[in-house]
């Protein structure tokens, strides 16, 4: 490229030199006669040298010699001829320069590794990117044989094909793994008259991605083809566009139905769940995926099936999503049977309790009539335990009701003061030695289910008795702030640590720690209590002075806890 540039500059610089050279030749040529054939030979050689090596001097020399020879032959004055030839050559040089510049720009603009070999397979050009790719210096590549520069290519089984292609002048393109560079490369070979240009592309990332994609596609396909999970593709309108066999079997439709566009998830959804599922679909469009949730599908024949359904958004614009459904009918049937079993078992337990309690009460009455104090005392204990058993069975039944959302309230206007008095009396019956004080509020009328609130308060009182020392008082206070009535039960037990103050109302939460290790209970009392209060639109919480520890061992470490629940004054819902 340097040559081209230099030649371009020869138009004016060459002019002065040509004038000087022409005058020199005029004098010199007339003094020494030169044969015409020699002049032609000299001209040709100079032009070839100029073309091959470039450079200002050979270029000027060629111009000069051509001028002289043509001038002599045609009999045109030398000066005129010199200018004609100079102009012609300059024009040619300019053209050459333009195309050379273009080639230069194109070649340097290539950001992919590029290497050029001549017909004897020696490297005649290599760009920086190729140097980087082969991790070799220019000096180690230039003028070296292709076997030395690209051992991976020449050892490739395709090498003979490459050679043939080059011979035939065909472009070839192939991908190979370079062991020396541990890289996947794509080579584009462009043969030409002067040799071979090779353009490389590092496609390791692409190959890796393709591999991963292939693997995930394989995984996805095997998931679809497996007979474990139902997969379908649906859109916002409800149309199911694709479904695997499992999915179709699950919903009881045939592939023909699917092709006829008869499958629509809105039709598959029970009417009562449609609103919920439309909400779920909105979340899917917003978040891109939905966590699996249990739902029923209405099959083609009208029967129902319970599935665990999850979905991911495939195309935000088209609003298509992939749906995964797992048939859990068997599991949900088992769950249902287990629940029924618990309900029936609890119910059945009550029959013998009724009989035992009845006879114990009869005995108690008779002992009372005869003033048999010992018997009365024993029977009292027996009846307390029977009541405890009854409450436990009731709690188990309540858990079932809460889980099934069947906790029904029978509300009326009730006096909380009266309710507290009744509950304190009953709690006292089970622990006659305990001191339980209670303070009423001047006004404490609420609209609530007496039996349920009574049950809630009795639960809290039973816990206070259970978890605080027998010598300590339990204080119940009723407060009223005009909007709600609050009941507070304070004990001097070990207290509830801050981090447990919310958790304590969870289902199956059990108090842990050495001191309370022996504390009995199913861990459902406070959960039921909390559910009852929440169902009334009220709130429940516990407060313990800072520093309360669940495993406080010493008496002085006891801070106590106060359980509160509030009920709205008027709530007829």
């Amino acid at each position: 490229m340097q040559t081209v540039r230099k030649l371009q500059n020869s138009l004016f610089s060459g002019l002065s030199i040509s004038v000087v050279g022409g005058i020199f030749f005029l004098i010199f040529g007339s003094l020494i006669p030169v044969p015409r054939d020699t002049l032609y030979l000299l001209y040709t050689v100079t032009v070839i040298v100029s073309g091959a090596r470039g450079g200002l001097v050979p270029g000027m020399l060629a111009t000069l010699l051509l001028s002289i020879s043509v001038a002599r032959l045609a009999g045109i004055p030398l000066a005129v001829m010199f200018f004609i030839i100079e102009a012609g050559i300059s024009l040619l040089m300019e053209r050459m320069h333009e195309s050379g510049e273009l080639v230069h720009n194109v070649v340097t603009g290539i950001t992919d590794p590029l290497i050029v070999f001549d017909r004897s397979w020696k490297c005649m050009y290599v760009n920086r990117e190729a140097e980087k790719l082969f991790n070799k210096d220019r000096k180690m590549i230039m003028n070296r044989n292709i076997r030395e520069v690209l051992p991976d290519v020449t050892h490739n089984p395709m090498y003979s094909k490459i050679l043939h292609a080059v011979e035939d002048g065909r472009h070839i393109h192939y991908t190979y793994y370079s062991k020396t560079m541990e890289t996947w490369l794509e080579a584009n070979l462009y043969p030409s008259d002067f040799g071979l240009t090779i353009l490389f592309m590092d496609i390791s990332q692409k190959v890796l991605l393709e591999k991963k994609l292939r693997e995930s596609e394989m995984g996805f396909k095997s998931l679809i083809d497996s007979n474990i999970i139902g997969v379908a593709i649906e859109d916002s309108s409800g149309q199911v566009h694709y479904a695997n066999d499992v999915y179709l079997k699950m919903i009881g439709y045939s592939r023909r139905d699917l092709e006829k566009k008869l499958v629509n998830w809105k039709k598959l959804t029970p009417e009562e769940d449609l609103k919920r599922d439309e909400q779920v679909h909105k979340i899917l469009l917003r978040k891109g995926s939905i966590k699996p949730y249990e739902k029923d599908y209405v099959q083609k024949n009208g029967s129902r099936i319970t599935v665990l359904k999850g979905a991911v958004l495939l195309d935000r614009q088209k609003k298509t999503s992939a749906v995964f459904a797992l048939d859990i009918s068997q599991r949900s049937l088992r769950e249902k049977r287990k629940d029924e079993f618990i309900s029936i078992a609890s119910h059945e337990l009550k029959t013998p309790i009724t009989s035992i309690k009845g006879f114990a009460q009869l005995l108690m009455r008779n002992a009372g009539l005869k003033n048999e104090e010992k018997s009365i005392s024993y029977l009292n204990r027996m009846l307390n335990q029977i009541n405890r058993l009854t409450y436990l069975v009731n709690d188990i039944l309540d858990i079932r009701r809460i889980e099934d959302n069947r906790l029904v309230l029978s509300k009326d206007f009730i006096d909380i003061n009266q309710l507290v008095e009744d509950a304190v009396k009953e709690a006292h019956l089970s622990a006659p030695s305990r001191i339980i004080t209670w303070k009423p509020s001047p006004s404490a009328m609420v609209f609530a289910d007496y039996n349920r609130v009574y049950q809630a308060l009795l639960n809290i009182l039973t816990n206070a008795i259970k978890y605080s020392p027998a010598t300590e008082e339990i204080n119940v206070t009723v407060m009223d702030d005009g909007e709600k009535t609050i009941v507070a039960v304070a004990d001097k037990g070990p207290g509830v640590p801050k981090e447990k103050q919310v958790e304590i109302f969870n289902k199956f939460f059990r108090v842990e720690g050495k001191e309370n290790a022996s504390m009995p209970g199913l861990g459902i009392g406070l959960f039921i209590t909390s559910e009852i209060i929440k169902k009334h639109g009220g709130a429940i919480w516990v407060e313990s002075p800072t520093g309360a520890r669940s495993n406080a061992k010493k008496e002085k470490e006891r801070f106590g806890s106060t359980f509160y629940f509030s009920l709205p004054k008027i709530n007829k819902n």
Partner: protein, 128 residues
């Protein structure tokens, strides 16, 4: 008055029939117990009780249904019915409305006696 009062108990569990019979008999009531709907209906043809305790969950029948039938039959509609349920003391409003009262199992003896007396006397005192 108690001697002439006739309290019927319909429950499919013998132990419940037994304890109720013992308690009420000791109080001087005349007590008849039946295990199912058929026995009840057969005997209703011949005699009528002053008060009927009816279990909600009878094997093969629903106590609520029986109560509904009796209450809608002019021949028996004035017989006081107390529905018994082992399924907690929280019967819903509709269930309560079918019968005159409810009794939860296990019951308090005092509750059983108070309710019995209330309805038996109420029934007997009713002007015929």
């Amino acid at each position: 008055m108690k001697n002439t009062s006739n309290v019927w108990i319909v429950d499919d569990d013998m132990s419940v029939r037994e304890i109720m019979q013992v308690i009420l008999s000791e109080e001087g009531y005349r007590v008849e117990t039946y295990a199912n709907e058929i026995e009840l209906l057969e005997n209703l043809e011949k005699e009528r009780p002053s008060l009927l305790y009816l279990d909600i969950l009878l094997s093969g029948a629903d106590g609520r249904e029986i109560a509904r039938k009796l209450k809608s039959d002019p021949r028996y509609s004035d017989i006081p019915i107390i529905i018994m349920s082992a399924n907690h003391k929280f019967l819903n409003e509709t269930e309560r409305a079918i019968a005159n009262d409810t009794l939860t199992k296990p019951f308090e003896m005092d509750d059983l006696l108070a309710k019995t007396e209330k309805y038996v006397n109420g029934h007997d005192n009713r002007p015929s």
